[in-house]
Amino acid sequence: MNINATLIGQAISFAIFVWFCMKYVWPPLTAAMEERQQQMSEGLANAEKAQEELDLAMSEVENQLKEAKLQSAALIDKANKRANQIVEDAKGIAIQEGDRLKQSAQADIEQEMNSAKEALRQQVAVLAVAGAEKILSSSVDQNAHSEMLNNLAAQL
């Protein structure tokens, strides 16, 4: 155990090793570690942001769903009203049409009745004349009495 130049040799190698470590070992290692730390914190921040965005999107979806429901309810309501309206309108038209048909039928009937009456009158006049002829034989002048009989028939 003697103190000798080994001391100096060790000091020199110590200095060289420390210099090498400081220059070529420490910086790349810590740089990689720091970069990883950065990436991790970024990743965590991103995850947090994504979660927030998801929450936001969820509430947005809920709002839109609610709005859509309201809109569809309004649409259904409107459609129901419109359907009722159409039914009401159709009913009115049908009633009108029915009335009109009834009226025209009535008019037809009346006209038919009148013409039948007219025909009957004619026939009654003829029958009356024929009857009278039979009763009176041929003593009655057909021409002389036809006007009287027509008048009689018109009174019927």
Binding site: N2, N4, T6, S13, F14, C21, V25, P28, A32, R36
Partner: protein, 276 residues
């Protein structure tokens, strides 16, 4: 074989294990390896403990190669295997440095990392059974081989004096020469009369730092190594009963000593940066 010769053999065995492979100039002027501690002592200061220096530089290179290979391939993706392990150590050092050292200095953390891993590796050589490597070198004709660099005071003091130099450098750089002198002269008693006394105390305090730092590591490792050598003197069939518990306990010691060396370095340098 008498008790005395057994004792001599044991003491020779221990001495042999504690002798460095020293290269230097013999008193007669020739260069070569010393065969005994005494011979190494005669070589004076300009001699090298080739084994300590070789193992310590080798281990330092191993450390830097491993860490550099990871640093080159380091990605910010999911770390695997070795990168995970290296990052764990780097993170541990980084946390320790941030707790103790509050100024910005790009040297401190790499310095801490180098000290921790390098000292740990040097200490860990202690866990290799004491005779393995020396016997291997004996077979190729090299007689002395101390494989634990941190049991050589040259190694530990070489590091602690480097740190002492850094303490002085940063004290003067951060506070200026005058500020540094002021700090030494005006603590602990702020009165002109006490200046010489303060200087004496503070300089003693300052010089004690590297010496205690280096001697603590050396003392712990030397004592641990000594116990391994003593255990190795027992009969072969019983050695495991002591060497295994001691080795397991030693795992704690070598880690702790490496950690203490690093933390004290950081703390001393933090004190050099901050004025009280």
């Amino acid at each position: 074989m008498s008790a005395e010769t057994t004792g001599n053999a044991s003491s020779a065995y221990i001495k042999h294990h504690l002798t460095n492979l020293t290269y230097g100039q013999h008193p007669d002027g020739s260069w070569g390896f010393a065969h005994t501690t005494a011979e190494a002592g005669e070589m004076g200061f300009w001699a090298l403990n080739v084994d300590s220096l070789g193992w310590s530089i080798g281990l330092g290179v191993v450390f830097l190669l491993i860490f550099r290979s990871v640093a080159v391939k380091a990605t910010s993706g999911v770390p695997t295997g070795l990168q995970n392990f290296v990052e764990m150590i780097v993170d541990f050092i980084d946390t320790t440095v941030k707790e103790a050292f509050h100024k910005a200095n790009p040297l401190i953390a790499p310095l801490g990392l180098t000290i921790f891993v390098w000292v740990f590796l040097m200490n860990a050589m202690d866990l290799i059974p004491v005779d393995f490597i020396p016997q291997a070198f004996h077979l190729v004709g090299i007689d002395n081989m101390k494989v634990v660099p941190s049991t050589d005071p040259n190694v530990t003091m070489g590091m602690s004096f480097s740190i002492f130099f850094l303490i002085l450098f940063y004290s003067i750089k951060e506070k200026g020469a005058g500020g540094f002198f002021n700090e030494l002269a005006r603590n602990p008693f702020e009165h002109p009369v006490f200046i010489p006394f303060n200087l004496f105390l503070e300089i003693l305090n300052l010089v004690t730092k590297p010496i205690s730092l280096g001697l603590r590591l050396f003392g712990n490792m030397y004592a641990g190594e000594m116990i391994f050598i003593l255990i190795a003197l027992l009969p072969a069939w019983i050695q495991w009963s002591l060497s295994v518990p001691w080795a397991i306990f030693h795992i704690l010691v070598i880690t702790l000593q490496a950690f203490i060396f690093m933390v004290l370095t950081i703390v001393y340098l933090a004190m050099a940066h901050e004025s009280h």
